[in-house]
Symmetry: C2
Subunit: 335 residues, 2 copies
Amino acid sequence: MSKDFSKLMSYAKHVASEVDKVINEVVRGRPQELYEASYHLIKAGGKRLRPLALVLSARMFGLEERIGILAGASVEILHNFTLVHDDIMDKDAFRRGVPTVHTIYGEDMAILAGDLLFAKAFEALGRLSGLVSADRLVNAFRELAWAAVTVAEGQALDMEFERRWDVTLDEYLSMVYKKTAALFKSSLVIGALLAGAPQNEIANLEKFAEGVGIAFQIRDDVLGLVADESVLGKPVYSDLREGKKTILVIHALSRLGPEGRRKLMSTLGRRDASVEELSSLAELIKSTGAVEFADSLADKYLEEGLEALGRVKPVDQEAKDLLRDLAMFVTARNY
Amino acid sequence: MSKDFSKLMSYAKHVASEVDKVINEVVRGRPQELYEASYHLIKAGGKRLRPLALVLSARMFGLEERIGILAGASVEILHNFTLVHDDIMDKDAFRRGVPTVHTIYGEDMAILAGDLLFAKAFEALGRLSGLVSADRLVNAFRELAWAAVTVAEGQALDMEFERRWDVTLDEYLSMVYKKTAALFKSSLVIGALLAGAPQNEIANLEKFAEGVGIAFQIRDDVLGLVADESVLGKPVYSDLREGKKTILVIHALSRLGPEGRRKLMSTLGRRDASVEELSSLAELIKSTGAVEFADSLADKYLEEGLEALGRVKPVDQEAKDLLRDLAMFVTARNY
């Protein structure tokens, strides 16, 4: 990495630590096994980037940090809910380097742990009652509900695409917007709504989030093809084994001839494929220039996002600078 | 039934029809399969008793019906979310006389359909923005989140109890309060909060809901032991097959000698038990006076609930009368 992210990292660490304190208070109760299962993935780590985005957005429009922290706990809990349920559906056995919730506690308890986290996300937001005006808090509740609806729609599309071979680039981008960018967008928007930001600034944030969120997912797709297990925190080639229609697969399918397509389709989505077969599939995909295509598309989305952020007139310039750093950081090429 | 419920039934039908229109607007979108799966159980019927309770509670404190209807859609959607996920965990293949969501669409889609409904419940409540004061709406959001948390805790207890043989009556009552009474309570409380009812009246409603909710579940336990498939809308003896620690089982375990307990424990919770074995188990349980015990406990809870309702000073006496009828109706002995 050429850019110096030390200031961002230091602030991210501070926010994560404060957010974790709040989450620890909110996700606590009985029955014990349910709460242990619900806390398992949260405990396993994660960078708390959505709370960080929320806090910075809130600060940018003049809201004090501690209120952003409380709301940040809410979006982080919601994010963890989606991961717990996605891991069941995707049959993923590892995440963040540890066994997934359903692997340890069974599917039934994992469903319920996800449900509890979902509810706790709204409970956490309710804790802002009395700290911000009720009008602003209602707006935040509605935004959080929108995010939850949209992420579910995105996950449904992702699952549908696993069964299809004719997914277009536009369909992919729409899925990624819903599954990945939406909650990042809502994190930023909730921060701004709680701060009472004007409508045009919220529109800027939405553009920013869309660009950064999509660029992030495209890089994540590439990482899934080129990185090793220690970087991923889960087995290599999970995406290929699950038949995910990543941007790389979509590009490859559009470029390969009949023979190549046949080869790709015979291995992609086969859960029993060997690492050798998957590695050969990865090479085939790379041979179409898919990584270069993905990278340049990510660059384009990132640029559009940064432009939108550039239009924001902040009351706290440092917060805006850090938000720009955050965008660069999450979309950096770590490969 | 000796009591005449025709007035209640007529109003219930009206509310259900209005609530269904709202649900139909809220639970609509794409991807198609996700929304079909989410709508499946809602479409299959149900009496919409929680919206009815909410509307009557709201009316009792002077809120217009159409606002209660909108909020009623929210609690009904949340209720259906819990049913979709419970059916996966309990491996129930039928509900309301039709195959359950996971039976038709698979477990993954059923998890996601439940998640979407969960989110839609909060979206539906958000539609009240601008129709009631933001203060009241924030209170309603917090109450709905509390209900969602509590129902998840109740379901976890219910599952834990399936594996245990030493569940006490108090533990049973606490589980039933969370799993069944809590959302009924929140429906009433949300109606009252939206109407701006004073705190002491909300406390009366909580007492009322606790009594009626627990009495309802006790009667439902009895119904599961004595009713036939056409009444239940699902196979007979599901509770016995799943090893549920109903109040009947808890009572029987406390009354049977070593031989009887051994017999009970050897069949209860065996998914492959024959109808003959389960029928013989049901007779064994009945022989302990469990049904009579359950009935008298339900009577006691109902009475306490009705006393609490009696203390409410309504602005709309008809609404209070109908709420009393509703309590009598849902706790009537239909066996």
